[in-house]
């Protein structure tokens, strides 16, 4: 529809960049294990977005395939990671990463 019809590709990439940085922010600043985990998922999503964008740009489906794989891996990761978080909570009854530091010298 006219001028506004076409959206420049860079907008999508920019959005992906912003989301990624937000993920980084959460990754660095939050102290709750689960939230950190979710920030990682956010970063994954941002990356997926750029994958899909490029697949759109090259009019090839490969980028979407990568996204698909990322999803699968994320699913596996979530399953194991959350199980680990559960165990951590069971053993230490805390979710604060800063307090899970018995590897410290």
């Amino acid at each position: 529809m006219g001028v506004m019809g076409a959206v420049p590709l860079s907008w999508y990439l920019m959005l992906s960049a912003i989301l990624f940085s937000l993920g980084v922010a959460g990754f660095l600043m939050r102290k709750n294990l689960i939230t950190i985990f979710m920030s990682i998922e956010l970063m994954l999503n941002a990356v997926n977005l750029s994958f899909v964008t490029f697949s759109r740009h090259y009019k090839q489906v490969d980028g979407q395939i990568f996204t698909f794989f990322v999803m699968v891996v994320a699913a596996a990761e979530a399953a194991v990671g959350l199980a680990i978080i559960l165990t951590v909570f069971k053993n230490r009854s805390t979710l604060l990463v800063d307090d899970v530091d018995s590897l410290r010298l």
């Binding site: 590897l103 410290r104 010298l105």
Partner: protein, 617 residues
Amino acid sequence: MHYLWLIPAFPLAGFLINGLLGRRLPKSIINLVAVGSVLLSFLWVVKTLQALMPLESAHIEHYFTWISSGTLNIPYELSVDRLTAVMLLVVTGIGSLIHIYATGYMAHEDGYYRFFAYLNLFMFFMLTLVLANNYLILFVGWEGVGLCSYLLIGFYYLKHSASTAGNKAFIVNRIGDFGFSIAIFLIVATFGTLDFPKVFEAVKALPVETSAGMLTAICLLLMVGAAGKSAQVPLYVWLPDAMEGPTPVSALIHAATMVTAGVYMVARSSAIFLKSPFAMDTVAWIGLVTAVMAATIGMTQNDIKKVFAYSTVSQLGYMFLALGVGAFSAGIFHVMTHAFFKALLFLGAGSVIHALSGEQDLRHMGGLYKKIPVTFITLACAWVAIAGVPPFSGFHSKDEILLAAHHHAPWMYWVGVVTAGMTAFYVSRAMFLCFFGSYRGHHHPHESPASMTIPLGVLALLSLGGGYIHIPQFLEPVFPLAEAHHDQSLMVISVAAGALGIGLAWFMYLARPGLADSVANAFGGLYKLVYNKYFVDEIYQSTLVNPLVAGSRTVLWKGLDAGLIDGIVNGTGSASQWVGAKCRRLQSGNIRTYATWVVVGAVVLLVSIGLASGGAR
């Protein structure tokens, strides 16, 4: 294709069966496998040779490429020419006889299956050695027989003397093999191949004047190897000790087959040797010296097997003399006849020892000819054969050699004749002490079983008539025959020497018993010297072995190993400890700190990418 590979394959199969399952198998099966495999390969040899006759030129079978690296290409090839044919027949024939003999001799030993497994393995390697068509495969066989000889000398590994004798044999052989391997390297370097035909072609092509040095070097190194394997001066010391092994082993390995490997190898390399007169002379010299030295020692020994061992050494010396004077065919001829009568001598000695249940000292024997007549008769055949009494086998081959020696250099002939006399003397001495006079022992002698006496009989026939298998003609396609002017006088002289030796022995040990001791006293110092084998072992011990051991202990072990290498290892350890102690500061154990590090890394990466792509267009 005549399936040459089957020839060594049979004994190998026997080795595998006996070696792997022997512990559980009954003796009958073990015998069947061991003897059967060797007999089979003997039959296969016969069949193949029949098929291949007349074997004017070598028949080569290529199986696969063993090593292919750059220009060097070593195929796995077996070949048969007339030389090989002789060796094959000797090895497999005598080998099977001795196997049969061993079944009787070893009957009461434990480790029975082990013994026959080793024996078969030896046959396999020996046949590989003989059949090889290039130096590398020959070397494989060479090392293999060395290994087996070690294993079999040390067969009674509970006896300390046996195991040390095994080690001695192995180590001394190492020296020879070292020379041999260097020779092989030189051959590769010079000719770029190891196949006999190619090498010899190349040698023929080479101009003498330019390449003499290299060829001489190769020949001398090959000779070092041969000296090690065939117990020549200065590396002969291991062979007498090798008598610690069971007698069949002494007969098969240390008399008939393995020790002749050196002779075979030199003869095989004749093409190269002929190019280097100096090397030839060296060979002749070594042979002569060995012959004389060993003969003199042989005259004084009291252990029957030791006597025959030294006789073996001196006979080998004869063979090398033959090679050295260029009568290769005569050398091989002597290899064969010597295989016959020396195997017979050892087996006979074994039978005697068996009869006296382990007694080896001549001074505790005597008058056995009525107690163990078969052994006596057969041994007598060997006696006449080795003493060079015409028309028996030893006479022919020795005569060939002496003729060639005279044709080369008359003085060599004379030395050879003297040696022949000594040979006759010590063998006769052993015979008289053993079988005549009155019995001085305290065991109750008993004749050996048929499994032992039958091989004795066969060998006796061979050593009587073997001389008429005229090898030199047969070998003509391989070694051009030296013009044979049969000088009757020379022949008579050598025979006379032999007769003299026998007579002297008779006079000293039968007619005038006790004369021997007085003679010994008369030449006290000389006798001592000879009786103690010229103190060669002691000299080696003090000049070579002790310095080496001391050096290794102080320099290599204390200095290099403990000091340098351990120092490096421990140093690495402590250094990494130090680094770790510094780095563990990073290991804060705080996940978010790690996360921050990750992001820092990512940022650094991004920046570097940005710089690398020059601000991305």
